[in-house]
Amino acid sequence: MNDMSNPVIIKGGIGDSPKRTEDHRFLSGKGRYTDDINRPGQAYAYFKRSDVAHGVIKSIDTTAAAAMPGVVAIYTGEDIAKAGIGGVPCGWQLHSKDGSPMVEPPHPILAQGKVRYVGDAIAMVIAETTEQAKDAAEALVIDIETLPAVSEMRAATAPGAALVHDAAAGNICFDWHIGDKAAVDAAFATAFKIAKIDVVNNRLIPNPMEPRAAIGDFDQSSGEHTLYTTSQNPHVIRLLMGAFVLQIPEHKLRVVAPDVGGGFGAKIFHYIEEAAVTWAAAKLNRPVKWTCERGEAFITDAHGRDHITHAELAMAEDGKFLGLRVNTMANMGAYLSTFAPSVPTYLSATLLAGVYTTPAIYGEVKAIFTNTVPVDAYRGAGRPETTFLLERLVDVAAKEMGMDRVAIRRRNFIPIDAYPYQTPVALMYDSGNHEATLARCMEIADWNGFEARRAAAAQRGKLRGIGMSTYLEACGIAPSAVAGALGARAGLYEVANVRVHPTGSVTVFTGTHSHGQGHETTFAQLVADQLGVPFESVEVVHGDTAKIPFGMGTYGSRSLAVGGSAMVKAMDKIIAKGKKIAAHLMEAAVDDIEFKDGKFTVTGTDKSKSFAEIAITAYVPHNYPIEEVEPGLDETAFYDPKNFTYPGGCHICEVEIDPETGVVQLIAFTAVDDIGRVINPMIVHGQVHGGVTQGIGQALLEHAIYDETGQLLSGSLMDYTMPRADNIVNIHVGTESTMCTHNPLGAKGVGEVGAIGSPPAVINAVVDALRDYGVTHVDMPATAQKIWSIINAGINAGAPRMAAE
């Protein structure tokens, strides 16, 4: 095996940037997505959805609809209940401060008794064509008695608010905490100064380019069910849907997630449509296909973020952080989506130390039900929320202390020699070098030259600002025992099956899933590098439970750190076996065989066998140690991570504001991240570009807005502002790596860093640009209207205002 610290870059190996194998297929229209799949005799499902946010279903009359041309079947919540089908489960259980379990209301696959958000599915209409199904859906006679709705968390928790679920008093799902309250109170008692902030983490709609789709199929002869679905984790769907919803055992249920056009978290979760089409296909003995439309995606794909937080930071006279107190409300939406409870808690509050040595931390989180689309993990999942809060708070703290923003950060950084570092909120960071990423980022961004640029901008009538964020996140989820102790209802290891073929080419079956990340390239590089085979002779297979032993899928930037580590383990087994075969062939002791650059060599001699020779010998075992070694060269490994991984870094953003219109123009963005081992620098850059773009989207543009009756006002791309090319700038990307100390690759993960680190850098720049207006905080998104209102209020007041928003 090649030494991974070896700086020599082999063509197609670790550190090289071959073009992405998958891109030819994607860019030439040859990708095969779920909607491209058509099964013989397939019928089409259309879901009739609620257009009110809250109401009692009085009656549904399907008679006229059922008589419409082409209709195959119509199912309602009543049919589902009669069939004994369970609801879609929640994969994470939390307990409140008082020890009681979270309120976990059933989430039936078609609404029963009540509808709880605009988009809640009322009936599934199946017809020969989608148009016929839609025609029939219009003929359904549905009587819903509208109830008052709660769409916003403050309204939902006000006295006398309408209840989304009767079981959840005050609409509270759980009231959770972490950390040491007494220690924090004591720290505040000795504080020299206290910085306070109120922030809203704006609700987002993920919008992957490919809308969701699902096809249910049933083979009557074998009794096997197949679900083709747009999923980031087919095995998880098989587990959740098979065991909890439809009671189909794994050996009779296959889940295929073929090419998937972007996920960003929204395609992690088990959605009702998947279970509905799988069930209906068996019942009708006919494939059933559903393809989501863009407008439908807005009201059915799990939304992201939506936190309201108040935080206070106690500081000593020298600017050292003494204690942090955080109180958050997190919107769950109308039902608990698969991982929703973990997002504001174990994926968020556990990071409240950030990159700082704050010794005492106490966080409280109330999860709230509202009459809105369920909210769950979205690129970054919990870490962007905490990072935004912390990095804004640190800027406010600097102002409060009259300290420089960089100096206060440096004063509080966890020093490199303090690693491994135990935080007061459960996590133990293994490695990091915050000074290195900060210094490099400041250098590239020319932080120190900023004031001259600001003055030049002022000459042009523009307000220029610069902002930074020094962040750390936890990903590579997760050690199963830890996750289990924290409430996860699954293990979070990863699986790799490395199959060496007789002629020496290799197929790798991975339980992770690629939906834009370029795994087919990165993993092939890893295998090529480690086994010394050409990059082109490695094939990566993912997304089919019939082909892959098992897996937990792709989210939480885990694919390389956990999935790649499983591959390394499997390759270790391949090499160990290869050594035995080589020892036999070369009549040497196994201990004397070393493997390097694709060759098995007898140490200290020039006797060697190539990897391909060993492979063919394993499959044609004529001259073979058959008594001790099985034929074949095919190994599987399960890898359970020992800890989370902790990528981090520094992002710096520079903006200019047009005071006349309030428009915020991005001028420069620099990201220097510590993501551990880099396999393909080009792909890493691409991941950072994409993540930062989504972060800029959150900071400046995107906002899911509901009115008080629970109607989604930003319900299409005409009103929901996705970032476009002219909203961003060329992003300077740098990496300053420290290795993860506990996985064999040293990899930390890069999928989410861009979306986590960037929003506070942007808003810190916006606040800095407005510094002469006395602004201390601006909530996201910093739209032109919002900025203009701030500036205008300042102008009208005749004096700079003290705080905005």
Binding site: E131, G662, I705, L713, S714, L717, D719, T783
Partner: protein, 264 residues
């Protein structure tokens, strides 16, 4: 989309007949607005009359007027040297409508027939005092626009061309809606033989309108400075999640000044 009959007549008379024969029939131009409406089942026409076979494309100079036929696409207007030399502001306006795909399909006739309150062309038509020529009459701009999505057109009346008097100078300044990129506020300013004209789109709560106070100020002095103290009543403004009435009223002033400065 619901089923409908599809017609593609070869003569304007036949198109008008097809539309007149059936109250539920609708004309189809570039389809950039109409097709999404059909796909979302927001309209249920019995018949769709495609105007693509009527020979209604082309741009020509007619004395002191620039005449653009109804089926001329935004891209053709944006790229036309005839337009660039006669009314460069119009080419500029067309070049910023939607995206490339929309500009290749969308037409001036479709835009004006639709009269979306955030569409760009209505401001140019109103500010320049253009004439809408239809299958049966000529309609002055002032009579044509009748509020959001409402025009003087009869159900079986087709726009055939639009005649723009050529101004001394003109410019269009658009503040795009951040999401849709339609005009959140668009101001078309022109110096014409009849005086200064200012038309505002995107902002008004009753569609495109002329800004009398600004016109009066510009008649005194055709400079951005002349508009400095001219305000726009909030009560006339539209408000939505992107911009409230106060912000829109403010932006009308900003965009008008920028348009005056850009006039050529």
């Amino acid at each position: 989309m619901y089923d409908f009959e599809y017609h593609k007549p070869g003569a304007i008379d036949d198109a008008v007949k097809a539309l007149g024969a059936d109250a539920e029939a609708k004309a189809l131009a570039g389809g950039m607005t109409f097709i999404p409406v059909l796909k979302q089942r927001l309209a249920k026409p019995s018949a769709v009359v495609d105007l693509a076979g009527l020979g209604l494309t082309g741009i020509r100079r007619e004395g002191n007027a620039l005449v653009i036929k109804a089926m001329t696409t935004h891209r053709e207007v944006a790229m036309s040297s005839e337009v660039a030399s006669a009314i460069p502001a119009l080419a500029e306006l067309a070049s910023n409508i939607g995206d490339r795909q929309v500009r290749y399909r969308g037409t001036i006739g479709g835009s004006l027939a639709n009269n979306d309150p955030s569409a760009c062309y209505p401001s140019a038509v109103l500010a320049l005092g253009a004439t809408i020529v239809t299958s049966r009459r000529r309609i002055a701009a002032a009579d044509y626009f009748q509020g959001m999505f409402t025009t003087a057109l009869e159900p079986d009346e087709l726009i055939t061309e639009v005649s723009f008097p050529i101004p001394e100078k003109a410019a269009y300044a658009k503040f795009p809606n951040p999401a849709s990129r339609y005009a959140m506020v668009g101001v078309f300013v022109a110096k014409t033989a009849a005086g200064a004209r200012v038309a505002v789109t995107g902002a008004g709560n009753d569609g495109v309108f002329r800004h009398a106070a600004m016109e009066a100020a510009l008649d005194q002095s055709f400079t951005a400075d002349a508009l400095k103290d001219v305000t726009t009543p909030e009560s006339l403004m539209n408000g939505d999640i992107h911009a409230g009435t106060a912000y829109r009223a403010h932006l009308v002033g900003v965009m008008a000044r920028r348009a005056v400065m850009a006039c050529k």
